[in-house]
């Protein structure tokens, strides 16, 4: 058992990796596979079992992190900051649990037929999980880039899963834009390395304040480039334009999984701009303060307006995703532990609810015959009571109506903003976009369920219990967030405080010895 304790921190990365390789070996019955071939059945079983084990590991790690200990894993026993470290604090553990909580129902849903619409769905899904887990636990900026690439290249293939003209129409720009963003990521990382001589996050947090003033401008330029990259992943205005079309074009389970992808951007902003460029960064302290909050509030407003104008239900949900990222980043932009705590709670809620809504959008669209997901009158759906109730529950939570967690999350954000200079802005925007979201969803719901054309009485099959169950379990997880809001709030509060305790983080990463490693940029003096 000590072996497990030692290596537990690296398992969230290794488990999906080995599962993916095994899934490639099992195969999925070839391109002409009929629905439910034997190989595909085995793939589903292995994939779901692996994610279930992943969830157990994530919960174990979260239970450990809740005690307040930082779990540090030095890959290959290389001492920090020379080797790569994986660090699991409360925030990382929370994100790991969230990844698996979304992945498990989505995978069950995809097993209902979507995984047979193309090759290697399950292997790609596992590679994506590997990239997500790695990005959430790495303690090294360049390693973060590598895991970004892992999750992105899996997402490129998943995005066009099922093929079709529309998916390539949005898939090609998605890939090209992400590759351009990766180039910017590398430039930003190189600029920061050039003047600090390290890429270890703990080391950076200590060292970035010591960069003398003229060089600090270059480091800040690097940090701002990273904000562009992370803002692009998170769909921060004005870098949000790619998201609605892409997510709406992707197949439902893929779009639901992609609800996690925007949160990687948010997480990276917290880690890099919140903590490393935090208030101890000397000349670069709080450098995103004047940018992040205004842009986040603009993202909220544009997201809600987009939801009002959406022509299809999938686009509506995609715009809601933009609005929810804006709300989270507004809380992050407060740059205080209280704000981050509120952001974490709201992030957990919004990821689950957006994933559920993407699945629900497809369930509803599939039962409306020719009209599909378009917001126009059509024949009645086959299961109006069930789907309508699920839609109502999800809509109420997204819009932030009590007693659902969307309301609690927004309340925490408002509470954290109270008293800060930007408080009135945050209050008015967060409250008004809740109202706008409610109008948008009420419009969609009344068209979908009440504007029924009576002459269209073609009988349609209801969704299978498997699809309904997967969607319901995501909604159930949202309800659990509301029931256990108290303990969760205590956890996220502690997580916010843990983030700003840079000394404890550095002590854990560097071990008992002082981080006095003579790392500094190469200068002329180093060349005899």
């Amino acid at each position: 058992m000590t072996w497990l304790q030692t290596h537990l921190a690296v398992l969230p990365v290794l488990l999906p990796l080995f599962t993916a390789v095994a899934l490639l070996a099992i195969g999925d019955g070839g391109s002409g596979a009929s629905h439910g071939s034997a190989a595909l059945g085995r793939s589903r079983l292995v994939s779901v079992a692996s994610v279930a084990v992943g969830l157990a590991i994530a919960l174990l790690l979260a239970a450990g992190a809740a005690e307040g200990d930082l779990r540090v894993y030095r890959v290959g026993e290389w001492p920090a900051p020379f080797g790569i470290v994986l660090v699991i604090d409360r925030l990382s553990a929370l994100m790991l649990v969230l990844v698996q909580l979304v992945a498990l129902p989505v995978l069950v849903y995809a097993g209902g037929g979507w995984d047979a619409h193309g090759r290697h769905f399950h292997a790609l899904f596992q590679f994506q999980l590997m990239g997500l887990a790695g990005a959430f636990i790495t303690g090294d900026l360049f390693n973060l880039f590598v895991f970004f690439e892992v999750l992105l290249i899996a997402s490129y293939a998943l995005m066009v899963h099922g093929h079709g003209r529309l998916r390539f129409r949005y898939g090609v720009p998605y890939v090209v834009l992400n590759l351009a963003a990766s180039a910017l990521f590398l430039i930003g990382v190189a600029l920061i390395y050039a003047f600090t001589g390290t890429l270890n996050l703990a080391d950076l947090a200590l060292r970035i304040g010591q960069v003398p003033a003229p060089d600090a401008a270059v480091v800040q330029a690097g940090g701002m480039l990273l904000l562009v990259v992370f803002g692009f992943k998170a769909a921060l205005v004005p870098l949000h334009l790619w998201l609605p079309g892409t997510y709406a074009a992707a197949s439902a389970p893929v779009a639901a999984l992609f609800a996690l992808m925007t949160k990687v951007g948010v997480y990276a902003i917290v880690r890099v701009h919140g903590v490393v460029f935090g208030d101890n960064a000397g000349a670069s302290a709080q450098m995103v303060e004047s940018w992040l909050l205004p842009l986040a509030l603009a993202t909220c407003v544009l997201g809600a307006l987009g939801a009002l104008a959406a022509p299809t239900i999938a686009r509506l949900v995609a715009w809601l995703n933009v609005a929810s990222v804006g709300t989270i980043l507004a809380a992050v932009g407060l740059l205080s532990p209280q704000g981050w705590s509120a952001a974490m709670y709201y992030m957990a809620h919004s990821t689950l609810i957006v994933a559920a809504l993407f699945l629900l959008a497809e369930l509803v669209g599939a039962q409306r015959g020719q009209a599909g997901g378009r917001l126009e009158p059509a024949g009645p759906v086959a299961q109006p009571a069930l789907l309508g109730t699920m839609m109502l529950l999800a809509a109420a939570s997204v819009a932030g109506l009590p007693p659902l967690p969307g309301f609690l999350g927004k309340l925490m954000i408002l509470n954290a903003a109270f008293g800060s200079a930007a408080g009135p802005w945050v209050w008015s925007v967060v409250l008004s976009i809740g109202f706008l979201t409610l109008i948008g969803l009420a419009r969609a719901g009344s068209i979908l369920f009440w504007s029924v054309r009576a002459e269209d009485t073609a009988t349609k099959a209801g969704a299978s219990p498997r699809l309904i169950g997967a969607t319901l379990s995501l909604l159930g997880a949202v309800v659990v967030l509301a029931v256990f809001a108290g303990p969760l709030k205590r956890y996220t509060d502690a997580a916010g405080l843990q983030l700003v305790d840079r000394e404890a983080y550095a002590r854990a990463v560097f071990g008992s010895g002082a981080p006095a490693s003579p790392v500094r940029p190469f200068g002329r003096g180093d060349r005899p």
Binding site: H163, R165, R169, V175, L186, P521, F522
Partner: protein, 111 residues
Amino acid sequence: MTLEFIVATGIGWVTACGIYLMLRARSYPVVIGLTLIGYAVNVFIFAMGRLAVGAPPILRDGAAVSDPLPQALVLTAIVIGFATTGFVIEMALRSRHESETDHVDGEEPPR
């Protein structure tokens, strides 16, 4: 002309060409543009370890050394860039097949 000036100008020129090609919005120029930007970024990372002539990244007694880490980072970036370029070419070919145009938007722009 110092070494730094020549390298910096070269990086800037290649990046500018890459951005121009990317804005052409046709899949072939876009792929070439991405590749050029990738090259420029790789040289940029290399240069961020400081430029030195005749300094290998190996510690020896008394000999000049250069920072080995950017060189390791470049190696990783090259491998990743190679893989993603291969993928984007395949993707562009599929898109060309599906939409019968090589415009990145999947449809010819209105004239």
